[in-house]
């Protein structure tokens, strides 16, 4: 085959362009640390990266929702623990008042104490977390328990003003959790905590030890309601913790998947880059030296 200088030059230029193209790709990977810089670098890989990124976005939201639900549950739990303590005190007063050791005057004082504790119970049931009432269901801005008082300032009735359903928010692909609680499902589950305490107070005022004795059962029922709710809330907190842990694991796996798919193997890229550079230097040296001997050299 007849060979001319133009052909040799063309081959050199063609080869150099290919090498440079490859070098610039490696350069991009080195500078970004990523193997996939545009979608066409690896279409299925890029698609998977988008999926995993969105999945992690969702998991991030779920984790935030779990944290919100968690702090609501903590607040509810500590409130109910206080309620439980108050109930214990009320029961102690009731047991004392039921004995004949105390006079009616003592019972009047005890009644006043019980009324105070009733007010404490109501204010505990009206607890709020960052301005949102915990026990009002969806009516997060309505104080759930309203009281009416008589002229003497004693509580006459406690009525629920909240909603009967609570706000549910997503904490997993197919699971939701309550972001607030329906007070009626806790304070008036099987018994009626406020009515029992009011009746106790009235029985104390009346000095009716028999009635006081009978009310002990109702008080216990209400106390059990609170204990049961505490157990449930604790159980839900545990569930959320488990869910949180598994979501975090999943998030970690997704991050790993993204890194595996998108991240460049820096060691390999560096080696390739260096060898590519060496090759290019060689080609350029040849090109610069004009390469082929010519008859001109001997004329």
């Amino acid at each position: 085959m007849r060979v001319t200088q133009t052909m040799l030059d063309r081959n050199l230029v063609y080869g150099m362009n290919r090498d440079l193209e490859r070098l610039s790709k490696l350069n991009e990977q080195l500078s970004t640390g990523q193997r996939i810089n545009t979608f066409s670098d690896d279409v299925p890989g890029a698609d998977a990266v988008l999926r995993l990124q969105r999945a992690n976005g969702r998991i991030g939201t779920y984790l935030e929702n779990i944290d919100s639900a968690g702090s609501m549950l903590s607040s509810a739990t500590s409130t109910l623990q206080s309620v439980s303590e108050v109930m214990t005190q009320i029961r102690q007063l009731a047991v004392q008042a039921a004995t004949e050791t105390y006079s009616d005057t003592d019972r009047q004082i005890m009644a006043q104490g019980v009324d105070n504790m009733l007010n404490t119970l109501v204010s505990l049931a009206n607890v709020d977390l960052k301005g949102n009432y915990v026990f009002a269901g969806e009516a997060t801005h309505t104080s759930p328990y309203a009281v009416t008082k008589d002229a003497a300032g004693q509580v006459q009735s406690v009525t629920y003003q909240g909603e009967m359903v609570s706000t549910e928010a997503g904490v997993g692909p197919r699971s939701t959790t309550e972001m607030n609680l329906v007070g009626e499902g806790i304070f008036r589950r099987t018994g009626d905590i406020f009515r029992s305490v009011m009746q106790l107070r009235d029985a104390m005022k009346a000095g009716d030890t028999q009635a006081i004795n009978q009310l002990l059962g109702a008080l216990d029922t209400s106390h059990t309601d609170i204990t049961v709710s505490l157990g449930r809330l604790g159980e839900r907190q545990n569930q959320l913790q488990v869910m949180k842990a598994s979501l975090q694991t999943l998030k970690g796996l997704n991050d790993q998947g993204i890194a595996d798919k998108q991240g460049a193997d820096m060691a390999q890229v560096t080696v390739e880059y260096n060898s590519m550079q060496a090759l290019l230097q060689m080609v350029m040296k040849i090109a610069a030296q004009g390469a082929m001997p010519s008859i001109m050299d001997y004329m």
């Binding site: 066409s40 698609d47 990266v49 988008l50 999926r51 990124q53 939201t61 972001m179």
Partner: protein
């Protein structure tokens, strides 16, 4: 004796050969140059008797050395290579528009939007989260605009490229025709005009880069060129091209022809036309479909919700429905139906009592007629709400002390006066979302008399389609453990609560639960209580009402701060197959669009690289025949120099002979 003549001829031949080699060397790098070779022929001498001795040599012509087969293959592959390289250029541009994978792409923005919805669902009345959601919604619209602008500017660039390429083609064919006539003149005079042909063939190569051409060689070295059967150059005449626009597409036709299109299949022009006529419009319409599906799906949820400000006292449509086209053809995605339903709840602010009005709509009516019939229907049937039309926009105004919504799918206080006949009657109410997929009428009957929360009472619930037979009967028991106001589960998410009070045996009430408050989604078309407005990716935007005051973000069924049912519905859209007639989710559709661009680009790039290699090899093969080898030329010069020296020697010998002859005289 012709001796001196022979010598002079030889000197001239040697001179010409040296000049030609010099010319070859000088043009070694000239594009399109073909190495020249001289035709040297002996000069015939006069016949003197039986012998004829020649008069030396002469250069009769200078011709180009070329291999026609390789030249033709090169021309064909140049067309392919240029088409591919242009396609790859434009596809790279398109791909970079989408900026994927990144945090700023549409995929991420859509994800952020739905994440913000999920987050707001945990605290539906939190103003910060509401503001965040409004901003994320804005960001989605923003990326849609950016992509739409990007595609539009690519389309505009393609349009102006087409025009500029067509004028390049016209300039080239014009020059080729001019060169043809020069070549013809020279060839007719007996020379083969190699340099003119080189110049012309180089122009033909340039033309082949722009479009597919076929070259016919004619007499006198003149060529004719056609593209898909249409003559561009006919000997010394060129016929210029022009662009024509038909149905928004660009075609090429000859100037003066009556819209006869020329099919351009190769070259840069073919790539540009393909992109301008098919590829870019396809992505534009996909993007519009995506934006419309997103808007529609979100709005169907949003329009049937209420915001943190509760029910509406007045509401104004943002979209003007004007003209004679049926509402279902306006592009909003409203289905054509003659008995579509819209349910309006009107609430008495003082008592909270809600009345439901169900209107029948005909979406096959023209936009004008539909609007008028809707207004009249509201004014005739719905108490305490007045509808009016202002320049094609519907406006609803509630009477003072009343408010309306399209959210709650049932009457929350369904018992009418007289339904509960007992003294000191209980007041039943219905709660929570309805998850059923069709309208159901529920008849609730108390089977025995008693006091709520004290006596055991059996409640019977019959479900039926409105006007239809009973589908199923449920029974619920309550007794002394029931705390008045507590929720009794019915079905499909519905709950019943009963206040303290009495019921008589056989007391009953009924209510209808609507699967959809707006079966045709006309609220979206009217722009009433929407989250997004505007058709297509270029016009989608967050409704001003919500953007200015995120409290208007409608995430609730009931005007209760913790109600998030519509937000949960909106969150579910993320995994709903809402695009391309229900075949893909928003994310899937978008990703397949980006994948499509990227895959096309990758495959075309590979094809282009192959074609580059092929063209390079063909160019080498051509140069192997037609290229200038400096070494070869130098050798030729040496040969000619020897010839020249020989001729001089010869002349000097003849001269010697002549002198010898003179000496004799």
């Amino acid at each position: 004796m012709a001796g001196l003549n022979i010598g002079v001829n030889a000197l001239r031949t040697a001179n010409q050969l040296i000049d030609m080699s010099g010319d070859n060397v000088a043009n070694a790098n000239t594009p399109g140059y073909h190495v020249k070779t001289a035709l040297v022929e002996p000069v015939l001498g006069p016949s003197t008797g039986p012998v004829r001795i020649g008069l030396g040599s002469t250069v009769t012509d200078v011709i180009r050395v070329r291999n026609e087969l390789v030249e033709r293959a090169l021309l064909t592959h140049t067309q392919l290579q240029e088409k591919l390289s242009q396609q790859v250029d434009i596809l790279s541009q398109l791909e970079s528009l989408f900026t994927e994978p990144s945090d700023g792409g549409l995929d991420a923005r859509l994800g952020d939007f739905f994440d913000a919805v999920d987050l707001l669902a945990s605290q539906p009345d939190d103003p910060t989260l509401r503001e965040a959601l409004a901003q994320k919604a804005y960001a989605v619209a923003d990326v849609f605009h950016r992509l739409d602008d990007g595609l539009q500017s690519v389309a505009n660039d393609l349009q102006s490229s087409t025009d500029s390429i067509v004028s390049q083609i016209n300039a080239l064919t014009d020059r080729i025709a001019a060169l043809n006539s020069q070549i013809q003149a020279v060839v007719t005079s007996g020379s083969s005009a190699p340099d003119l042909k080189d110049t012309r063939d180089q122009l033909i190569t340039e033309l082949a880069q722009l479009m597919n051409i076929t070259v016919y060689e004619g007499d006198y070295g003149v060529v004719s060129i056609s593209c898909s059967g249409a003559l561009l150059v006919d000997r010394n005449l060129s016929s210029p091209l022009r662009t024509i626009q038909e149905d928004g597409k660009t075609y090429i036709a000859a100037v003066g022809s009556i819209g006869q299109r020329i099919r351009v299949s190769e070259g840069r022009l073919a790539a540009i036309l393909e992109m301008a006529n098919d590829v870019v419009p396809r992505y534009q319409s996909s993007l519009d479909d995506l934006a419309d599906s997103f808007r529609r799906a979100v709005n169907l949820v949003h329009t049937t919700g209420v915001g943190a400000n509760g029910r509406f006292h007045a509401l104004e449509g943002t979209n003007a429905l004007l003209g004679m086209q049926p509402l279902s053809d306006l592009g909003y995605g409203v289905p054509a139906g003659t008995d579509e339903r819209l349910v309006i709840n009107v609430a008495d602010d003082a008592t909270g009592e809600v009345t439901q009005y169900e209107l029948s709509l005909d979406t096959t009516l023209s936009a004008d007629a539909f609007l008028i019939s809707l207004r009249d229907s509201i004014n005739a049937n719905v108490n305490h709400v007045t509808a009016s039309i202002d320049e094609g926009k519907l406006r609803l105004q509630a009477d003072s002390g009343y408010a309306f919504d399209f959210a709650l799918p049932y009457d929350p206080n369904p018992a009418r006066p007289g339904d509960i006949t007992a003294a000191n009657p209980t007041s039943p109410s219905i709660l929570d979302a309805y998850s059923g997929d069709r309208n159901l009428e529920y008849d609730v009957t108390f089977l025995n008399a008693g006091q709520i929360g004290t006596d055991p009472i059996t409640i019977q619930i019959q479900a039926r389609e409105p006007g239809g037979p009973v589908l199923r009967t449920l029974t619920r028991q309550i007794d002394a453990t029931y705390a008045p106001g507590g929720a009794i589960e019915l079905e499909n998410g519905l709950k019943l609560t009963l206040t303290a009070g009495n019921v008589a045996a056989g007391d009953s009430f009924s209510f209808v639960a609507h699967a959809s408050m707006d079966t045709a989604g006309v609220l979206d078309a009217l722009g009433l209580n929407t989250l997004f407005n505007g058709l297509g990716a270029g016009l989608i935007e967050v409704a001003d009402r919500v953007y200015q005051d995120p409290a208007n973000l409608a995430g609730a069924l009931r005007p209760v701060p913790g109600d998030n049912h519509r937000l949960l519905d909106m969150s579910a859209l993320r995994s709903a197959k809402s695009v391309a007639s229900g075949s893909a989710t928003l994310h899937e559709y978008y990703r397949s669009m980006v994948s499509d661009v990227a895959t096309t680009r990758s495959t075309r790039t590979v094809a282009q690289q192959n074609e580059d290699q092929l063209v390079k090899d063909l160019q080498n093969r051509r140069d192997s025949v037609s290229g200038v080898s400096v070494d070869e030329e130098m050798t030729r010069i040496m040969q000619s120099r020897t010839l020249y020296q020989g001729a001089l020697k010869y002349i000097s010998t003849i001269n010697q002979l002549m002198n010898d002859l003179f000496d004799l005289v």
